[in-house]
Amino acid sequence: MIPGKIIHFFDRANVGLAGTRDRNLVPHGHSVCGWALAPDARTLTVFVPEGGRKHLIESLEDNGQIALTIEQYPEHEAYQFKGRYIRHRPAEKGDAEIAERIRERFVQSVLAFVGERAGPSLRAFVQVPALAIDFEVRELFVQTPGPGAGARLVGGEG
């Protein structure tokens, strides 16, 4: 069960990255453009743009392992969710609306550093979702840089 503090974080975070690995234990990174937590507070849906598909479904169907890091930039508050793949489907209109909200959060948080001229490039950074991946969160870790990084919040023995 994902703690309430983290559920609120989903509404502030603005950058994400998913990681998988193939049958040869070769890791693969996948761009992420959004996320949504199911009502069970255990199933996380991650939205992946077309450019993030390479090796994704093959790896998930081979071994089910997925890691998702979500960050609030530029504050660097970050958490990593690890779990097991459940299913995937083509992205829908509602998924694109979630990605759009995250895109605007990201743009507004970064514009102050880079200037208005960078707006179109920043908007392109958070892409349109192509796939929605559901996974069951089994472990959750703090990833904010500093002494608490790596602390386990959910799952495992510790």
Binding site: G19, R21, P27, Q65
Partner: protein, 137 residues
């Protein structure tokens, strides 16, 4: 897909935008994290900063393969690097240069005293691929 870093990636590595790294433990659990610096060593090698003894550091010592994504926001593209960990350096020109960059990044991002270089981890480039962001509007 290239196996050597092209000259055009060098300014992207210096742009100060955090990169993303995925590793995998020896028992097959992936780990995804942001990293503050990818340092160009040569056409065939990069160095990544070892600042904390974290899961990423443990993973690449169990399983040397890594995947790094570097963002070129102004170029509307990202670069994906497949890497293999070779060795760790705690002194020398690469370490010194990375240490200076880390200090600068820490100062710019309010992380002074938190970002501290322990070692420069040297990785061989297995492949490099550029992917342009599709237009979305």
């Amino acid at each position: 897909m290239d196996t050597r870093l092209p000259a055009e990636i060098r300014p992207v590595l210096d742009n100060g935008i955090p990169a993303a790294m995925v590793t995998c433990s020896g028992d097959g659990v992936p780990n995804a994290t942001a990293i503050s610096q990818v340092y160009y060593v040569s056409e065939t090698h990069v160095a990544l900063s070892f600042q904390f003894f974290n899961k990423t550091i443990r993973n690449v010592r169990e399983n040397p393969r890594a995947h790094v994504t570097v963002h070129d926001i102004h170029g509307k593209s990202l670069w994906m690097l497949e890497l293999e960990f070779e060795r760790s350096e705690t002194e020398g020109p690469v370490f010194d240069a990375m240490d200076m960059q880390i200090e600068a990044i820490a100062s710019m991002t309010g992380m002074t005293g938190i970002f501290k270089l322990r070692a420069a981890d040297i990785y061989r480039v297995i492949s490099v691929e550029r992917q342009f962001y599709p237009p979305h509007v």
